[in-house]
C-alpha cells in the first residue's frame, strides 16, 4: 500500500486508473465500478483528506465505508481489539489523524508497520461499525438497488465518484439514471450477482470468517443466497474479516424490501421456475405489487428462474449420468405454504403427496415463458 504522504502534493490518490480498466482479462468487469479521473480532480484537495477518507479511496477499498470518528473514539466499541493490533496507540493516532503526543518515535521501527497496524485496526473497527444502525446506513449509501430489473445488465454500469457524488448523468441514457435520492442508493459500489438468472441482483461484501488473515472479501447475493469471488483482482488483497460473516444478513434483515422472498411464481400463468426454452423478446409484463405474507421475511419479488440444460432443444434427463443434479440449490417453491411441507429436520411431512412431481415438472416445462434476463447489444 502506498503511503498517504506520497499523495499530499497530488490531488489524486496514488495508483488509481491503471487498476480500473487496464488490468486485462478478468478485470474488465460486467458490473465493475467505474472511477473516472475527473472524479478525483474535482474532489476535495488531499491536504484536507483524513486518513479514513484516504484509506477508503484506495483502489480495492471501494467496499469500505467511512467509520465515524466518534465510533472509533468510544472505547467500548474497541473492546478486545487492542490485543489484535500491534502498535495500537500509534495506529490509533494514524487512523484519527492525531499528531503523536511525544517525539519518542524511536521504538517504532518503520512507518509502514504502523500503517499496516492502522489498516488492521480500521478493518476490525469497520467490521463492528457496519453492524450498527449508522454503519448499515452508511453501507446503504454504497448499494445500488435498482428496481429496473429489465435493464440489460451489461450496460448497467454504475458511475460514482469517490467523494460520493454521482457521475454526470448526461453521459447515460435517461432510463439508466441513478435515481438520485437523498440516500444515494444508486451508487452501486458492490456490483451485482454474476449469476445470469439473478438478473443483476445487487450484492454486498462479506467475509467467510470473522478472524482476520484467513480469507479475502467475498460478495453475497440475497437472491441466490450464495457467495462469489469479486470480479476484479484488486479486491484480492482485502481481508474478508473487515466485513465479517454477519453483515450481509443483518443488512437484508434490516432492509427487508431488498431481500428476495423464498418463494416465486412466474408472472405468466402456468409458469415454471425452470428456465424457458426460448427466452422471449417481449418486454416483461407489468408486475403486480408483491407481498410476502411473512412480514419478517424478504419483501422483494425473487428472480426465480433456474437453468435447464438442453441438447438439441430437449431437456437433459435426470436419468442421464450428466443430467441435472444441482437445480435444487436455486429452486424456490411457488408458494410460501410449500415451505411448510418440510419439517425442521428436512423431511417431507407428507411424502406420498410430494413424491411424483417428475411428470408434473415435465408438463410445466413445456410452457414457454417470456423471459428476458439479459438484453443483447
Amino acid at each position: 500500500m502506498s503511503s498517504r504522504q506520497a499523495s499530499v502534493s497530488d490531488p489524486r490518490p496514488p495508483e488509481d486508473e491503471e487498476h480500473i480498466d487496464g488490468a486485462g482479462e478478468g478485470d474488465e468487469v460486467m458490473e465493475e465500478v467505474e472511477m473516472q479521473e475527473e472524479g478525483y480532480t474535482s474532489s476535495t484537495p488531499t491536504s484536507t483528506l483524513t486518513w479514513i477518507s484516504w484509506f477508503c479511496s484506495l483502489p480495492g477499498h471501494e467496499y469500505f465505508c467511512e467509520v465515524t470518528e466518534d465510533f472509533i473514539e468510544d472505547d467500548f466499541n474497541l473492546t478486545g481489539l487492542n490485543t489484535m493490533v500491534p502498535f495500537w496507540k500509534e495506529a490509533m493516532e494514524m487512523v484519527l489523524d492525531v499528531e503523536p503526543e511525544d517525539e519518542d518515535t524511536s521504538k517504532i521501527p518503520d512507518v509502514s508497520i504502523v500503517e499496516s497496524s492502522a489498516e488492521m485496526l480500521y478493518g476490525l473497527v469497520h467490521q463492528r461499525y457496519i453492524l450498527t444502525r449508522a454503519g448499515l446506513q452508511a453501507m446503504v449509501s454504497q448499494v445500488s438497488f435498482s428496481t429496473t430489473s429489465s435493464v440489460p445488465f451489461h450496460i448497467h454500469v454504475h458511475f460514482f465518484y469517490l467523494d460520493g457524488t454521482s457521475a454526470n448523468p448526461l453521459n447515460f441514457p435517461s432510463q439508466l439514471l441513478f435515481y438520485q435520492q437523498a440516500e444515494k442508493y444508486e451508487s452501486g459500489v458492490f456490483g451485482s450477482c454474476p449469476r445470469v438468472y439473478c438478473v443483476g441482483c445487487n450484492v454486498v461484501p462479506c467475509g467467510r470468517v470473522d478472524i482476520p488473515g484467513n480469507d479475502t472479501v467475498k460478495l453475497y447475493c440475497p437472491n441466490c443466497n450464495d457467495i462469489y469471488v469479486p470480479p476484479s483482482s484488486r479486491f484480492q488483497g482485502v481481508d474478508g474479516a473487515f466485513f465479517g460473516t454477519t453483515f450481509p444478513h443483518l443488512f437484508f434483515q434490516t432492509y427487508r424490501e431488498w431481500a428476495p422472498a423464498p418463494f416465486w411464481k412466474a408472472l405468466t400463468t402456468g409458469g415454471s421456475p425452470l428456465s424457458p426454452r426460448s427466452p422471449g423478446t417481449q418486454p416483461a409484463p407489468r408486475q403486480p405489487t408483491f407481498v410476502n405474507p411473512n412480514q419478517h421475511g424478504g419483501q422483494k419479488r425473487a428472480a426465480g428462474y433456474v437453468y435447464v440444460p438442453r441438447i438439441y432443444g430437449f431437456k437433459v434427463s435426470e436419468r442421464a449420468k450428466s443430467g441435472p443434479r444441482m437445480q435444487w440449490v436455486r429452486l424456490r417453491p411457488e408458494s410460501p405454504e410449500e415451505l411448510d411441507m418440510v419439517d425442521w429436520r428436512g423431511r417431507w411431512i407428507n411424502e406420498e403427496d410430494e413424491y411424483d412431481d417428475d411428470e408434473e415438472e415435465e408438463e410445466e416445462d413445456r410452457q414457454m415463458e417470456d423471459f428476458d434476463p439479459v438484453g443483447f447489444v
Binding site: N225, Y228, V229, H249, P262, K321, S322, M326, V329, R345
Partner: protein, 277 residues
C-alpha cells in the same frame, strides 16, 4: 491491408495479416472463446445447409473466411462483409463444436480454462464452458456454464459479454458432458478452500451420513459406464447465511426445502439405478 475493420477488435498483430482470415479472427482481442473450425468442415457445403438464408452476401462472406475472396469485390463491400463473415463463422462454429472433432478442440480450451472460472466461491475456480441461451443469432449474448454448480454466469469482461451466444449454441456444454461423462466435475468441496471446512459437518442431521458413492477423480476421456452420479449432490457444499452464528429463519427454511427436493431426487435416481443396474 486486407482487413480494414470498423470495430476496434482488429488488434491482431501485423504477422496475422499474412495468415488466413480464420487465424486473424481467432487472434483478435475478444475472440478468445472461439476455436478453429477445420477447413474441411467449412468446405463441405452440407455442413453449411441453410446458412445462406441467415447471412447476407453469403457467398462472398464464405469466400472471405476461406481466403478466396476476389480483391475487387472486397473493396466495395468491405465494411459490411466483415460483419457478415463474422456472423457466418460464428454460425459455422456453433455447428462445428458439436461434432466429435469440434468437441475435442473445445475440450483443449476447457482444460486450459480459456473460458474463465466459476465465480461461485464454493466451486473452487471450476473452469467454465460457453453456452448460448438460444440458437438464433442476434438475441442473447454468450453465457458461461459451470459443470460443478450447473448454473450460468455472465462473462466478466465486456468484450466477451457482447459475443453472440448463438455462435456457441444451447447444446454444446451438455453434449460435451454427455459424451465425456468422466469429465463431469466433482461436487465435492474437498478441492475448495478449507476456511469453512466445518460447514459440511454442521448440517447436523442424518442426511449427511448417507453413504456417498465414489465419483471419478481422474479426468479420463470416454468410458464412464460404471460411474454413478445419483447421489453426487450430497457432496455439494453450500453457503449458509448466519447472523452472529445463528441461521436466519426464512433462509434456513428455504434451504431445508431445497435439500428435501435434493433428497427426493436422489431417492428417485437410486431407485432407478436399483431397477437398472
Amino acid at each position: 491491408m486486407p482487413f480494414n475493420v470498423v470495430e476496434d477488435a482488429s488488434t491482431g498483430s501485423d504477422s496475422d495479416y499474412s495468415s488466413t482470415w480464420i487465424s486473424w479472427f481467432l487472434s483478435s482481442k475478444g475472440n478468445e472463446y472461439f476455436c478453429e473450425v477445420d477447413e474441411d468442415f467449412i468446405l463441405d457445403r452440407f455442413n453449411l445447409t441453410g446458412l445462406n438464408n441467415e447471412v447476407a452476401n453469403y457467398s462472398q462472406a464464405l469466400d472471405l473466411i476461406t481466403d478466396s475472396l476476389d480483391e475487387d469485390i472486397q473493396d466495395e463491400l468491405r465494411g459490411s462483409l466483415d460483419v457478415q463473415a463474422r456472423l457466418l463463422y460464428g454460425l459455422i462454429h456453433a455447428r462445428w463444436i458439436v461434432t466429435a472433432r469440434g468437441l475435442q478442440k473445445m475440450l483443449e480450451k476447457y482444460k486450459r480454462a480459456d473460458f474463465g472460472r466459476c465465480p461461485r466461491v464454493l466451486c473452487a475456480s471450476q473452469p467454465l464452458l460457453p453456452v448460448g441461451l438460444t440458437d438464433i443469432p442476434y438475441e442473447k449474448s454468450v453465457k458461461l456454464y459451470c459443470g460443478r454448480c450447473e448454473d450460468l454466469y455472465s462473462p466478466k469482461s465486456s468484450r466477451h459479454g457482447s459475443i453472440d451466444g448463438a455462435y456457441f449454441g444451447t447444446t454444446f456444454p451438455h453434449l460435451l458432458f454427455l459424451v465425456y461423462p468422466t469429465l463431469l466435475p466433482s461436487k465435492d468441496p474437498e478441492t475448495s478452500m478449507h476456511v469453512t471446512g466445518k460447514e459440511t459437518n454442521t448440517l447436523g442431521d442424518s442426511r449427511n451420513r448417507r453413504r456417498l458413492r465414489e465419483e471419478p477423480e481422474a479426468v479420463t476421456e470416454g468410458g464412464g459406464e460404471g460411474i454413478s452420479t445419483a447421489s453426487v449432490a450430497m457432496k455439494a457444499e453450500r453457503y449458509r447465511p448466519r447472523i452472529y452464528g445463528f441461521q436466519i429463519n426464512e433462509i434456513a427454511k428455504l434451504q431445508r426445502w431445497q435439500e428435501a427436493v435434493r433428497d427426493r431426487q436422489i431417492a428417485r435416481l437410486e431407485a432407478l439405478e436399483e431397477k437398472n443396474p
